[in-house]
Symmetry: C2
Subunit: 322 residues, 2 copies
């Protein structure tokens, strides 16, 4: 590994792992590291772990060449004071000024941003969004989240919570979501739901069909019905897998249509684990969007796959201080 | 009438009428006028009518004291070149640079903005939104529209089309909207739907009830079932009128919850004809919103009635050049 002349450090804090990387000005990551986030041990332990990964990276380079540290964290990052508020799955955590703590330890510039926003920024600067001034970034994985890129910058909203597209309701009378609302798109197409829905249809279907690639792929163990497997089965021609993913694309298109109408956007960039789904899922999203958005948007609709995958969080965080 | 020292002229262009007023810096309207918009006679006739009302107002005052002219127009006002695009119910109208035409005639500064955005700006500067830096403005009348106030300014979006909250879908499988989408909130709570729904329930109900104020108010002529009558009947205790309006408030709350989650907003200001509905409708909107928005918004939710009523368009347009 050769450390670039000038670099910044990007930290991607998750509830299980904290990942960090040395990020060059061109968005490449010559070195990265990860550690247990210790989210169940309280804020002090988490800050310790963040410091640890930063220290490891700085140990291999000259701190004088480090422009600063950017941190992506879950939860709402206050647009007013930069504190991290109520990140889900972090214990004893109400409101913590993580950036201040890290600044104290390393005495270099530290910036912090919501993790979905970091990924959106990374796609805007180095990824699939490079050619678009304005787009909606969607994270489609365990949950559904997002970030709004307006005029090549992230739109945080008044308090830093903008972009929560997973909690756009597509049915006022629909499924009960974890958030308490009904019909949130997350409760229809998040990973758990896709797995559950697939299992449900499989159990009610003719399971001896030749095209039942799903059951073969998981060796009959339905607890293994993860989106990656569903995508794989769909590519092999499994009709149930195709059906589940097409339906998910159609529903996502419905939620995105509402958001794109309100925000006057034409382009969606899809990241997160399920964004690896086959091309026909993107076609389903586009078809649904074209049928649903206002006339002024119809011919301009673009839905594209994110480019940076797992590294978007680190790169976006690092670019906060570039 | 006494014309203030410094003033601007606000023009509110609708498909039937063009209204204009002299607007003082404090938002008052010492003089106003209206004329047929001649929307069916093409852009040239419409511009003629706009010029006419401006001329009339300027004839009563010193043009040297006029700071400029602001115009509110339906349709999308291009954020790029200020042209008025496809205003609904205007004939032979594709894309017209109205501001340029008016500037040529009067040789003073002219600004133009979407009419819903004008009303939002007026409420932000002089109306119910004065105390809020950020809020969602909702026009609830024939259709449902809106404007987004972010940091005391209007958020236009990339192309000038932001704020189309009437076309947020609350049911992906729901009612077919004029726009082609399904489940748009406009198709549930716009004036025509409210009248239709009320009639439908009335026809299926026990029409001899003592509480049937609706039927008495319209003298049995169901074509007169307009929202103002429904509101009046509700205030008299008519259970059908109350039911229809409460349901509408609940559904509006569902659409607003999605929008407020995405935009990180806590406050909605409701204008338009139906905003005159009784207080219990606002309570229904708030109840629905509190049940549906993300936890970080719940305790901050405010839904309030707009203040400026019919003059919001003129005042907001005028304030574009202040």
């Amino acid at each position: 590994m050769s450390v670039p002349k000038k670099f910044s450090i990007g930290v991607d804090l998750g509830a299980t792992t904290v990942k960090a990387g040395i990020v060059a000005l061109n968005g490449t990551i010559p070195d990265q590291i990860s550690a247990d986030a210790k989210a169940k041990e309280g804020p002090r332990a988490v800050i310790q772990q963040i410091s640890f990964v930063i220290n490891e990276l700085l140990g291999k380079s000259k701190i004088s060449e480090c422009i600063g540290i950017g941190i992506g964290a879950p939860g709402i990052i206050s647009a007013i004071d930069g504190t991290v508020n109520h990140p889900p799955n972090f214990s004893e955590w109400i409101r913590v000024d993580v950036a201040k703590e890290i600044r104290k330890k390393f005495n270099i510039p530290v910036a912090i941003e919501n993790d979905a926003n970091c990924a959106a920024i990374a796609e805007a600067r180095y990824g699939a969004g490079i050619e678009f001034k304005d787009f909606l970034f969607v994270i489609w994985g365990t949950g559904v989240g997002g970030g709004i890129i307006f005029n090549r910058k992230i739109y945080r909203g008044p308090k830093g919570g903008a972009g929560e597209i997973g909690h756009v309701s597509i049915d006022y009378n629909g499924r009960l979501c974890n958030c308490g609302n009904r019909g949130c798109i997350e409760s229809y197409i998040g990973q758990k739901y896709l797995s559950h829905r697939t299992k449900e249809i499989l159990l009610g279907s003719d399971r001896n069909s030749d095209e039942n690639h799903l059951e073969k792929l998981v060796g009959g163990d339905f607890s293994k019905l993860e989106p990656a497997i569903i995508s794989q089965a769909a590519e092999m021609g499994d009709p149930i897998a195709i059906n589940v993913l097409e339906e998910a694309g159609d529903l996502l298109g419905c939620a995105l249509a509402s958001v794109m109408n309100v925000l006057d956007l034409d382009v969606a960039v899809i990241g997160g684990g399920i964004s690896a789904a086959p091309a026909f899922v993107y076609e389903a999203i586009i078809k649904s969007l074209r049928a649903r958005v206002l006339t002024s948007h119809k011919e301009h609709i673009r839905v594209i796959r994110a480019k940076l995958e797992n590294t978007a969080g680190i790169v976006g965080a690092a670019s906060l201080v570039m």
